[in-house]
């Protein structure tokens, strides 16, 4: 087990470099001169473009730019964005908010999704099953901006239960509604996944055995059934944390959450490779560690899976 973890951690290194270089390269490959659009509908003075290009070494070959960036990064220096702000400052203020939001979303989708999935899995094709199916699909088919707008308008402006936008460092309570909006799509998927898994395993021999042994229903479902049905759900939840953090652009915008989504998007458009890579690197690390955690959980959930 220990060796397995160690090996996986070592594998992070090539992934780290592979991902950062690929992203750096992609940002570099986004067409357009990053400074061409800075002066509105007026051509920017050459002097300005030249000044900025030199300041950020943009006329170096791509591998050299990447090398410089990496060298600084490994010394703990994230560099500056084109506005002259320290990227590390951006990370420190934006990340906690995004992480909080993603965790709330994850908790909501796991809680609601799993509950719905278990209930419907146990009673397939009943009224409840169909109700859950249709309502979760409705959430998928509605774009996030609609869910977000409607909830914000109803709760924030009409009923005044919440503030339309969250505060500077939002508390978990403030993030409940945004979290629901963000998690609504995955919620449907988790409900479906859990339902399928439960329905399948309910017929499994060990469940029949458990029932035959006279175990109470609660124990059969809670211990035997749920535990064995969790693997695909856990996999998905694991991969989803990263996706939620990186995919919160719209939700963050609607509720005024100072997170990374918008920054990443803007930095892509303005070709600020250092900013994009810095933010995404952290995302990738979260994703990789979650994956590792999930892989380890497999072993805990299902003893047949072993890592030497």
């Amino acid at each position: 087990m220990g060796r397995y973890v160690l090996r996986r951690l070592l594998q992070l290194i090539p992934v780290f470099f592979g991902t950062t270089f690929l992203i750096y390269y992609l940002v570099w490959a986004v067409p357009g001169d990053p400074f061409a659009g800075k002066c509105g509908d007026r051509r920017c003075p050459d002097s300005y473009i030249q000044f900025m290009t030199e300041k950020y070494h943009l006329d170096d070959p791509i591998w050299m730019q990447y090398g410089t960036y990496m060298k600084n990064l490994l010394q703990g220096d994230f560099g500056q964005n084109f506005s002259g702000r320290d990227i590390s400052d951006i990370l420190i203020t934006a990340y906690p908010n995004t992480l909080k939001l993603a965790l709330v979303a994850l908790a909501i989708e796991a809680l609601i999704g799993l509950t719905a999935g278990v209930l419907t899995g146990l009673r397939r094709n009943g009224f409840l099953d169909n109700l859950v199916l249709v309502s979760t699909l409705f959430l998928i088919a509605l774009p996030t901006f609609v869910t977000g707008f409607v909830l914000q308008y109803l709760f924030g402006v009409q009923w005044k239960i919440i503030n339309p936008t969250v505060s500077n460092s939002p508390t978990f309570a403030e993030l409940l509604v945004p979290g629901f909006v963000l998690g609504s799509i995955s919620m449907a998927y988790i409900a479906r996944l859990a339902r399928t898994s439960i329905a399948e395993n309910r017929r499994a021999d060990y469940v029949r055995t458990a029932i035959a042994k006279g175990l109470p229903q609660r124990r059969v479902v809670g211990v035997h059934l749920l535990r064995n049905s969790l693997i695909p759900v856990v996999t998905y939840l694991g991969t989803d944390l990263g996706a939620l953090m990186g995919g919160a652009i719209i939700t963050e915008g609607i509720f005024g959450i100072n997170g990374i989504g918008r920054t990443v998007y803007r930095s892509i458009v303005t070709k600020e490779g250092a900013v994009v890579v810095s933010i995404v690197v952290v995302l990738v690390l979260v994703y990789l560690l979650m994956n590792l955690l999930v892989d380890l959980l497999y072993a805990a959930l299902d003893p047949r899976i072993r890592y030497e």
């Binding site: 659009g37 002066c39 007026r42 051509r43 050459d46 005024g256």
Partner: protein
């Protein structure tokens, strides 16, 4: 021209940010209201893209803060009238070439030092010196000696670099004494004093030259009615009344928080729930169906601002070199219907080559701005028709899709040309294609006037080599009339010459004015008397609490 970075628009970009209802907590105590002198307000804004240095800011987010924090030699009245002296005591000239500028004694920067003549001269020299890379550097090009401090890349974009300038001070600027300096232009230019209220011409304190522009830009020191307190990225910028301010436009309230939004619908919902006291532009989703009027009632403001949306022709493309064709396309656009249906009356159909608010501009001087299907069809036939697909280009990262599609549709329906609109993903790519002369069809070119004179709508846009004449329009007659105008003895004579130039432009149709902009703003229930400046920003000196 400042470019708005609030994409407002793009579906997904709708993003992030920001927050801060710090006001939720902190302000609540102050909301009891009434006490203007100790009052605090929250207004909306966007994160400035670069540090707050006047000569280096071209976008609206930072430009707004700079306008609040600095007062220039002259100021533009809210109604768009002729500029009035502010820091300047007098600006005098006999030949429109040498200007003697006297400034008022005793005005102060926020760090307590006095504003002196050298603060202007040093600031302008800094902005013009090309190694400093200021975005607005070219604004100083009228001044004698500009070419010596501002060098260009000899081969445009390319391997060669611009040579180091010979000197770092323009020969046309001379400090006479602490409160007097002279400006010598390279050629007579009667409009020059009007320019001086633009943020590029603001003075910089001595402290600026003792630190780096980056450091200064994070904690700027101005000479205006409010001073800088703090700036939290993507969250808020706090400003406070500068009590030693001596000029007329003092502010009455004590604290101003500029909350930095990235989604204007979020800001609007904050406005509705009184978490925000002023929103400069109400989002389209609330303009539709006049929702904002029922939401806000008397708290809504609707004022014209000197901004026009223009569609320019790439005259370097052979297909668009026939003036009759260009005229036909312009006449085929039903501007009124677009203003009504796409903009819900928040824009007015353009009928002038400048803007209704512009001094020296004439409404109705754009004869090709009308909708005349019959004449359009005749002109198209005369031009020999149009082959292939006519594509209108816009940048897809801001909200231009609807109206550009409507323009294409209007042309298609009227002329039977296969016309459509296409978005270019980012403004940077869009500008780059324009700069490089790669546009394959008419493209969007908005224009916000920098200073209130019709010259600003001709020189940069339609004169050969003008800074924003991207379609490469060139007509010697226009150039001659324009030059005569800039050298005229007084404003009226100048405007007469500019009108002449406009007449020729109106025949050539190098671009198509489409709509002029009205701005819809909203205020909260806490404030009263709110007015907006000539460019639509909140006039802080007008704000009082209820």
């Amino acid at each position: 021209m400042r470019v708005s970075k609030r994409a407002g628009a793009v579906a997904m970009t709708a993003a992030a940010a920001l927050v801060v209802a710090a006001c939720g907590g902190g302000d609540s105590g102050e909301k009891s209201g009434g006490d203007t002198a100790n009052g605090a307000i929250t207004i909306d804004g966007t994160q400035p893209e670069v540090g707050l240095v006047p000569a280096n800011t071209t976008e609206t987010g930072g430009g707004k803060i700079i306008d609040f924090m600095w007062t220039g030699l002259v100021q533009y009245p809210n109604d768009g009238g002729a500029p009035q002296n502010a820091v300047a005591e007098s600006i005098e000239t006999t030949d429109s070439k040498v200007y003697t500028i006297k400034i008022k004694k005793g005005t102060k920067f926020h760090d307590g030092t006095e504003v002196k003549a050298k603060n202007f001269v040093d600031a302008w020299n800094w902005g013009a010196y090309s190694p400093n890379g200021a975005q607005n550097g070219s604004f100083f090009s009228d001044i004698e000696g500009f070419a010596d401090v501002h060098t260009e890349d000899p081969d445009g974009e390319g391997p060669k670099k611009a040579p180091q300038p010979k000197v770092d001070k323009m020969s046309g600027l001379k400090v006479v004494d602490d409160y007097t300096f002279t400006v010598t232009l390279s050629a007579p230019f009667s409009i020059f004093p009007v320019k001086l209220g633009y943020s590029t011409f603001m003075p910089l304190p001595d402290a600026f030259f003792k630190t780096t522009p980056e450091e200064f830009g994070k904690k700027p020191i101005g000479n205006g009615p409010v001073k800088f307190v703090s700036w939290q990225d993507n969250v808020e910028i706090k400003l406070a009344r500068f009590d030693d301010y001596t000029l007329a436009d003092k502010v009455k309230i004590k604290d101003v928080t500029v909350k930095l939004y990235q989604d204007d619908t979020a800001a609007y919902n904050d406005l509705l729930s009184n978490n925000l006291d002023f929103q400069q532009q109400i989002p389209v989703s609330a303009l539709a169906g006049d929702k904002w009027k029922s939401d806000l009632g008397e708290r809504g403001l609707n004022v014209p601002i000197p901004v026009s949306q223009i569609i320019a022709f790439p005259l370097y493309d052979k297909r668009f070199q026939n003036a009759d064709l260009r005229k036909a396309i312009s006449l085929a656009v039903n501007r009124q219907e677009i203003a009504d249906k796409i903009f819900f009356g928040s824009r007015k159909p353009a009928n002038t080559w400048s803007n209704p608010l512009t001094a020296g501009g004439k409404e109705g001087d754009c004869t090709v701005c009308t909708f005349d299907p019959e004449q359009a069809k005749q002109l198209l036939a005369k031009a020999g028709g149009f082959k292939g697909e006519l594509v209108f280009y816009y940048n897809a990262d801001a909200s231009h899709k609807e109206w550009m599609e409507a323009v294409a549709q209007s042309v298609k329906n009227t002329l039977g040309i296969n016309a459509r609109a296409e978005g270019i993903p980012t403004f940077a790519v869009f500008r780059q294609m324009i700069n490089a002369g790669q546009m394959k069809g008419p493209y969007r070119a908005g224009w916000q006037q920098d200073y209130p004179d019709v010259e600003n709508w001709i020189g940069p846009l339609y004169v050969t080599g003008g800074s924003s004449n991207d379609g490469k329009y060139s007509n010697p007659q226009v150039d001659a009339a324009y030059k005569a105008g800039t050298q005229a003895a007084d404003a009226d004579a100048a405007h007469a010459k500019f009108a002449e130039a406009t007449k020729i432009i109106d025949q050539d149709v190098p671009s198509m004015p489409m709509v002029t902009v009205n701005q819809q703003s909203g205020t909260s229930e806490r404030v009263k008397n709110v007015q907006t400046t000539n460019v639509g920003e909140i006039d802080l000196s007008s704000v009082e609490l209820k």
